[in-house]
């Protein structure tokens, strides 16, 4: 199984730990970054995880940022992605089994690394168990109108990165 994983600069060391953890378990891992602690922006990496999973390059995805909220919003805004943001194993398994979730998100400043390992293991090992009810629900979620620009356009954020570099965004 191939797993795409992404993070922002707040939790790079946790993502790096999970990359090694998953490789030791035998998963093929696509690490989309970020790779260091330099301040960057979570939608860049959420979009990359989403594009990898939606295209079939990866089977499932993992997203981690401080709370998990930002990066898991961005991955869910990629067409074809159904991501859950969790702080417990039960919700992760439910989302995989009953909502056919294909990405699991967590907060690296919210959940400890032991819980993160447990959540990811349980999510990757669970299987979708389609029922007429779950199939209907998934079809409705997938039918919400959205464009697919984030799936293919690697330059979708260029204008914002340019403005960031020019100092437009400041505290």
């Amino acid at each position: 199984m191939k797993v795409a994983i992404g993070c922002d600069h707040i939790v790079t060391e946790i993502k790096d730990h999970m990359v090694e953890y998953l490789k030791e378990e035998g998963y093929d891992v696509i690490d989309v970054g970020t790779y260091d602690k330099v301040r960057t922006h979570y939608p860049i990496y959420g979009r990359k995880v989403g594009a990898a999973v939606a295209s079939g390059e990866a089977d499932l995805g993992v997203t981690i940022c401080g709370t998990g909220v930002g990066i898991t919003n961005s991955v869910n805004k990629v067409k074809g992605i159904r991501a859950a943001l969790v702080r417990d194993v039960g919700t992760a398994v439910y989302a995989r089994k009953h909502l056919n979730a294909n990405v699991i998100g967590m907060g690296g400043r919210i959940s400890g690394v032991g819980l993160i390992e447990n959540i990811v293991d349980a999510f990757l090992e669970a299987k979708y168990e389609p029922t007429p009810e779950s199939e209907a629900l998934v079809a409705k979620i997938d039918s919400i109108p959205m464009n697919d620009e984030a799936n293919t356009n690697e330059h979708i954020f260029d204008e914002y990165n340019k403005k960031w570099d020019e100092g437009f965004y400041h505290d």
């Binding site: 301040r39 922006h41 979570y42 939608p43 860049i44 979009r47 401080g66 709370t67 998990g68 909220v69 930002g70 898991t72 919003n73 961005s74 869910n76 805004k77 990629v78 067409k79 159904r82 991501a83 859950a84 943001l85 969790v86 702080r87 417990d88 039960g90 919700t91 439910y94 989302a95 909502l99 979730a101 907060g107 400043r109 919210i110 629900l137 409705k140 979620i141 919400i144 959205m146 464009n147 620009e149 984030a150 979708i156 954020f157 914002y160 403005k163 960031w164 437009f168 965004y169 400041h170 505290d171």
Partner: protein, 142 residues
Amino acid sequence: MKVIIGADAKGYALKEHLKNYLTDKGYDVVDKTPEKDLDLFESASRVAKAIQQGEGDRGIAIDEYGAGSFMVATKYKGVICAETSDEHSSKMTRSHNNASMITLGSGIVSERLAEGCADAFIENEYAGGRHQVRVDMLNRMC
């Protein structure tokens, strides 16, 4: 402060509890799901669309786990949503993400924890500044 709230069948009781709790605190609470038998697509969509159209300041959507409502809400352009089961995430998502919605799982959080998440989400404001580049990126998507 106007709070839009909604729930599916399994979130109905917690929604009623939070509605009373927030109303007693003086908030203007709009219940988008008076029915008891909705699915989470319908309930979360009603809250997300109301938020998208500027009908309220904050949205809260409830189902059994919170995960399905989160999947639904984040698919609406301009809606930033946190699936939460702790007060800190509920606070930080206002401060850093400018989230306009949270989702809660009635099977995951207790009444007290749901109150704490709702309080933290409603009482905190967006910090802006450097965080705005990420919010602009999110709003560019879907």
